[in-house]
Symmetry: C2
Subunit: 558 residues, 2 copies
């Protein structure tokens, strides 16, 4: 239907003043803190004032394993939210904020796509309301205070070789991955080797997204382990005395950001932790506040359901006391074909057999999600080249697995294209069919938690971990961290740790390369493969062609 690009559609949007969007949610203008005319934060007082209201119904949008064909998870989140509003429901969406830095490497993107987008697109790809800058400042203040403590006598006995807290910057800057600081003599401190990660990889980001309120934020910041002594005793942020000042830097960043969809429905866009070394979901405070303001809240989780939904359930829902009423699993015909062995260049031609061959990836995600006790609906995100026979093949496969697949055309048609999905999802959520439970209990050992995810979600035969890693897990259990959930960091492209193995592989093992304790965020990161926490710029970065045109419009960012 449309031949316009996402940015053209976004720029043509008939945005309503953000006060009107707040009105829809019953937020008094005093409690809506505007950033320009199309963005606002919700005051902490207002958030506190709605605490005792009943919760709306939470709907998670997740997806099959991503392929280069794209699956459209955020687009479907936006489309479903608009669809629910279209059929007369009071609904809103909660999604993550984009990181600024990577947009200067590869072109940035919309939040959603086609006629299912959140706007203002440009601001959301640039500074937005400054949340990530606040996180960068808070993170690096702690870094400076650690080195400052060492400089002024090191009363805590920090071992300079064992400072685990690095610095962050919201840019792709490979030169900062590995650096030596404090050179230049006595006045600059004690030289030591350290490095920078990108801001979204900061534990402060994960904490901000899991904290219930500002007190909880401060307590969690205090719990961060920043270094060890020569005797390997942990030194926390609280020991260094930084958590209060960090909380002050983060007090506005903790307030959810309100924007709107192209159809002028409310959206919270707040927080954006990495989906590998962190849990990859928008902030808990945004989701919880949304549940007080709307009858249906549609949210999403990073990557495919094996990573994103698993962490949403086992980390965010567990810690936040949330229970999803329904899960929408997004699939596309094209992605099914790629899982069925078709190359990206050949996706245009009808190939029902390949669709069928790829469906087991979808089937396994359905089974996994049902394992959490939540009802599942499959959304087939329509692409113009999909044929009726291909779509039917997916529907048939899903039906054989006791579930329903609904074709959605929100990309081309907006909410008109998700009426059927919205109607069905609302029915399911209203029926209260779910009996959500996380996959494992707090009291399981850390290694057993890893095994549970690996076997029940990834369908691996075994978890491989050498003695050093098992000893580390046991040491954390002895230190009182055994009750934490695990946060798996592996490739998003496969159920296995090998990104090339599509479909629904079996007979594989999960090698654990490293484990890290995020004591403030409250999880143990389990690294299975190479994880990059500071990207580099490509040889021709997008920044080379980004600029303002004669009208003052941004060019080259999208």
């Amino acid at each position: 239907m449309s031949h316009k690009s996402d940015i053209e559609i976004a720029r043509a949007a008939k945005k309503r003043p953000i006060g009107e969007i707040g009105d829809k949610l019953g937020i008094p203008s005093d409690h809506l803190l505007p950033y320009g005319h199309d963005k606002a934060k919700i005051s902490q007082d207002f958030i506190n004032s709605v605490e005792d209201r009943p919760d709306g119904k939470l709907i998670l949008v997740t997806a099959i394993n991503p392929t280069p064909a794209g699956e459209g998870k955020t687009t479907t989140t936006v489309g479903l939210g608009d669809g629910l509003n279209r059929i007369g429901k009071k609904a809103m969406i909660c999604i993550r904020e984009a990181s600024l830095g990577p947009n200067f490497g590869m072109k940035g993107g919309a939040a959603g796509g086609g006629y299912a987008q959140v706007v203002p697109m440009e601001d959301m790809n640039l500074h937005f309301t400054g949340d990530f800058h606040a996180i960068t400042s808070a993170h690096n203040l702690l870094s400076a205070m650690i080195d400052n403590h060492i400089y002024w006598g090191n009363e805590l006995g920090i071992d300079e070789r064992r400072v685990t807290w690095r610095r962050v910057v919201d840019l792709n800057d490979r030169a900062l991955r590995d650096v030596v600081t404090s050179l230049g003599g006595v006045a600059n401190g004690f030289p030591r080797q350290t490095g920078f990660d990108i801001t979204v990889a900061s534990e402060v980001m994960a904490i901000l997204c899991l904290a219930k309120d500002l007190s909880d934020l401060e307590a969690r910041l205090g719990d961060i382990i920043v270094a060890y002594t020569r005797d390997r005793d942990p030194i926390t942020c609280r020991d260094v005395g930084a958590e209060g000042a960090m909380t002050v830097l983060l007090k506005d960043a903790m307030q959810p950001n309100l924007v709107q969809t192209l159809e002028n429905n409310p959206a919270f866009v707040h927080g954006g932790p990495f989906a590998n070394i962190a849990h990859g979901c928008n902030s808990l405070i945004a989701t919880r506040t949304a549940l007080k303001l709307a009858d249906y809240v549609v949210t999403e989780a990073g990557f495919g359901a094996d990573l994103g939904a698993e962490k949403f359930m086992n980390i965010k829902c567990r810690k936040g006391g949330l229970a999803p009423a329904a899960v929408v699993l997004v699939a596309t015909v094209r992605a099914m074909k790629m899982n069925g062995g078709v190359a990206k260049a050949d996706l245009g031609a009808e190939n029902v057999d390949a669709v069928k061959a790829g469906c087991p990836n979808l089937g396994r995600h359905i089974e996994n999600l049902k394992g959490f006790g939540v009802p599942v609906v499959v959304a087939i995100n329509h692409f113009v080249t999909d044929t009726d026979a291909e779509v039917q093949a997916v529907k048939d496969y899903v039906a054989e697995h006791g579930t329903e697949a609904i074709l959605c055309q929100h990309w081309a048609k907006g909410s008109e294209g998700t009426e059927a999905l919205a109607t069905r999802v609302a029915e399911i959520a209203d029926a209260g069919m779910g009996s959500f439970a996380p996959l494992y209990n707090d009291d399981l050992s850390l290694f057993e938690k890893i095994e549970t995810v690996a076997k029940r979600i990834y369908r691996a035969d075994e978890v491989l971990a050498d003695k050093k890693i098992r000893d580390q897990l046991r040491a954390w259990e002895a230190a009182g961290y055994g009750n934490l959930p695990v946060c798996m960091a592996k490739t998003q492209y496969s159920f296995t740790t090998d990104p090339t193995r599509r479909g629904a592989p079996t007979g594989h093992s999960v090698p654990v390369r490293e484990v890290r304790l995020s004591a403030g965020a409250g999880f143990v990161v389990v690294i299975c493969g190479e994880i990059m926490t500071m990207p580099g710029l490509p040889s021709k970065p997008a920044a080379l062609t980004i600029g303002l045109d004669d009208n003052g419009d941004v060019q080259g960012l999208f």
Copy 2:
């Protein structure tokens, strides 16, 4: 009169919604981009739309050499603005933004003091509208692009040893002063020694504060010299291709920030370059826009008049086509006493002789300012312990120098305390008595420009500079930079380069230690003494006691 602290007064302020403050200036609400309910940016379209209006009158507030007794320059700027409004004039003020980082070392402060303040004080000491974060991002994007260019083949032939562009962070972090980057092997680039400065020291900050509009900003960013080849040919930001993307990152930061005084009068708070290696004034775009919106614009310059006013005149006014209609020179009885040899502990006792002995510092500043062809009024910023005889001594001294000194009590009384000053300043400005001219012409040689400032402002006998420095200046002249003004970096505490020499010394020389070319900002920095561009935190940083109290109010920041 008041025993309340600045923060208590600021928190008790009866702020008006920022839209009402915009109304006073005739800014339509569409063109006022709010940040919360008490801060807003002015849209670029609106700024463009007022371009052809006549200018109001520009009044500079400057001061004697600072002493530990304090002089109250910003306080007087605010008080005079409020005083002009009180006597029925349409007036506004333009001041600088505070840097975030240093507040976590030493306690932050008000913009102004007592009953002459700009609010919201807390936001202005924290993230405010995000301008400095945008500058940090733009600066460091360029840094990343330089290393990225070298990494991907170094087509420009950048000599890694001669990369002059460092990185910045808005924190006091001594560990980052001197670092080695790109360690860790081939994938991380070529190791080289570099460092971080604090954000306010960035040339990007100076450029933002001198650029006329976004096109001028982009052109100036392009002109930044970031490195040299092995043949010592300069490599610019434009060669690296970063200026367009940097401009996109800075487009909102270029818009002036509107806030209000305690008396609900409009204030632009925008930009904050270092006053030593840069020119230390708020942005040109704020000042120029203010001149279109108000009949009287009161602004200030960093440090004492020997540095701040000199740079205001020779750099900002020269480049921006501005001409001050009057200058207010702030002095205090206490500062006169300290210039007269009294220790800070003894300032409480009446000492008319010491006041008289210190007055020559004031007298020389009066003479210097008159040398720019502008009328001068002295404002005596009243302190509770000042006696009538001491105040009279200052008035008599000033009168002997053909000028008028007016006692001001804005700290205790707000605009009621500056009625007399405001009335006199308006009379002088309206009389059009000024015939402003910078101290030297563009075509003087760079060394002669340094000599002009040193001899006519500092009253030095000579400028000392070794051959290497003189050769460097000649090389820049040959390369086409000879027409630039000089930006002097020396101690603020004395006319000389020795911070302990108060009063009005003579017979001294000015040793030039180093010269630097800020080709984008458009000046040659002349360093006469130790200049610190990355502060450290003290042994007990303010951050240790900063936090939120049970009401969610910030504690320990002030």
